[in-house]
Amino acid sequence: MRWPSQWRDSSALQRLSNTHINCLLIEDSAPLRSVVEQAQKNGIRVIHGTSELPGIIVMRGVWPGARLSRASHPDTASSGPTGLPWVESNGWAVRLAATLNPKSTIWVDVTPKDPPESYPLCVADVAAFGGTWIISLDDQLAAGIERGDGASMETWKGLIESVEFFATHNYRSAYVGSAVVGVISSFSGDNQVLSWEVLKLLTRTTEQYRIIPIGSFSANSLSGLQAVLCPDSDPPGGDLRKALLDFVQAGGLLIMRSAWHGMPGTPANWDNPRYAGHVLGKGTIAVAKSKDTPDAYLIANDTVALVSHRFDLLRFWDAGSLNAYLSEAPDGKRAVAQLVFYAWEMNGATAAHGPENATVRVAGRYRTAQLLTFDKPPLALGQPDDHGIGMVVYDDSVELHLPPLSHYGAVELDV
């Protein structure tokens, strides 16, 4: 937590007792010396800066939330290039940083917007994807807490509840991300801008993806995937090329920005405005027709369509603007779907909170489900109740009818 500069009395540290806040980023100044000393006595780690922290990657983040711009009536034009609210989020970047630095902890440094929309949203936006937000309070909230204002204390309580949740539900250590698509890139140099943007926009589609840096590609990198996307300007070479062709031969879909010289396979009989198809073995290679710098939005959405919603691991209704991350236990018997909600919209109204009655379909043969949130007791989702809330079990999936949610929900599933 970044210690508010106006909290100069060490007694303010009492607010951290019985919380999981265990490290303070605190200004190195004389007025705060007593705070530093007392914090260290309390067993709290104190740092004065975020550079060169062993085992920790600190990345600049964005304050999460949605820019609400959708039209009020479905028969009227939506504003914005996608017709959907633009969402600022950190999840994709946290995942990328964690993949590129597998032995490091990822901290996200972002200070509240003025006025901040939701502190628990910021906690969830980072933590659901495996990172930790360096808690930063806006000046007004810090002052309000200092005074003991009711509203400020309520905000503080909500923030602490969200931190506690992730401290006691460390899904990252027990679960592995599920994926339909693998994104293979160097994620650096000339490929950085496009590959990062593709990850950001692929996240918005709720397609579940795996980040595969070329430098750490291994035999297991493609296991379980339906498709692989290569957004880099140069086609993969060497052993990676061979592995990808084997993947296609076995039935996979390979989506490439650039073709190899002498494309393997035979031209596919399909009609796609932006991709040429090549059939190879049981699978297909889709190569972008245009040599121009591609639009990341189109790459992300074309990928989802090329792969097909038939393979959706998660599918949503009435969920508003959200990011979702499905992961499962190595034995495949348990899974957790983490849902981060940025905005909800219905009947022309938009609001910066979660949905009233979202439905999520999870692919898989699950039999029990439990919904966890920051502020309510766990809710077992059984036969739908009088309000329709519950779970419907199908042969190949379950449909979860969720109650009103604020910014975050985790659904734990068991087979």
């Binding site: 034009a77 599918r315 209704w317 009947n347």
Partner: protein, 399 residues
Amino acid sequence: MNTYSRREALKTMGYAAVAAGAYWNAPSLLASPLASPAPTAPVAIGTCKTYDSAELLSTLDRMFDQLGGLKRIVNGKTVAIKINCTGSPAYRLGYLPLGDSHYTNPQVLTATVHLMGKAGAKRIRIVESPWSSAYPLEESLLQADWDPRQIASAAANVEFENTNFLGGGKKYVRLAVPFGGYLFPAYELNHSYSDCDAFVSLTKMKEHETTGFTASMKNCFGITPCSIYGGNAGVDEPNEDPKGGRGILHGGKRQPSKIALAELNPTSPRQDGYRVPRAVVDLIAARPVDLQIVDGVKSMAGGEGPWAPGVIAVQPGLIVAGTNPVVTDATCMRLMCLDPMADRGAHPFEHCDNMLLLAEQAGIGTRDSNRIEVIGARIQDVAFNFDEAQSKLGIPDRI
């Protein structure tokens, strides 16, 4: 009823011509009063409490037989079935599947496809212009939780096409409005609407915020491509990545892409209650609807989609089929306890023109119950009052 003799009788009466789409009286009837009454055709009403495939198949089979048999409409022909998938597939009414509220139910489509295959359809193309999408139609259906493979396997040569843009065609087709048109003299459409020998509107029985109610006629509003008539349509050329709704037809704040003919009267009211009913009538004249199937097994009252205020789920348990869209829709209105003879200002046309009246004046079909033969269930026995269903739940009237 002896179905063989009915079929023969229909042929004798010339209804085969009606089924082939020539249901208007004269090329242009707007300048003068109707020379003869607007055509009529029989309407079949079936009751069906569930979407169980066996119940649907037997009900639809019987209804098609009552209309003279499906074979005379589809045998040896390419058939296009326009389904009704209004709004984003990511919207539900509560937790209900979309087909139980505002989308055509996929089981009704599957049963229809199956029966058309049995009746000898050469090719069946499922068409719709899904919300904000230029991706394959199957992808939108999957998002709605349909299974396109199940539908495709119900008959031979079943295919899907997204008609929101150029799709699989090389160019748009221009279909002229035979009576001259209320809004536009012709419409630029996806090739599927001219490729087909028989055109079917398979839709939902609902109320509608803009047009009062919706059934087979209003469903055809969705045959227009948003690439040309949508909010982000191109100015000079169609925008093959269409987003949003059909703002050009609704509010008319701008003209369609220049590939299309301009409006007949750009100074006409820019109100959707004026424009949408007229566009609907233009469209069902430009692309005649040979068969209408209206799914009222489960639906919603109060509006056409979950976004409409105060909507509730209802189960009228009805299916309606016919071969003249005006006649069929007039019958649907009676089944919904609405008056198809109502003028603008009267329920349910408080804020819009009565599209059935406009269609009748264009010589497409009659809405007069005295001239409509109803086969199967009697209206008075099975009618379902949509307004009453809403008020019983204590939800205030939307008007």
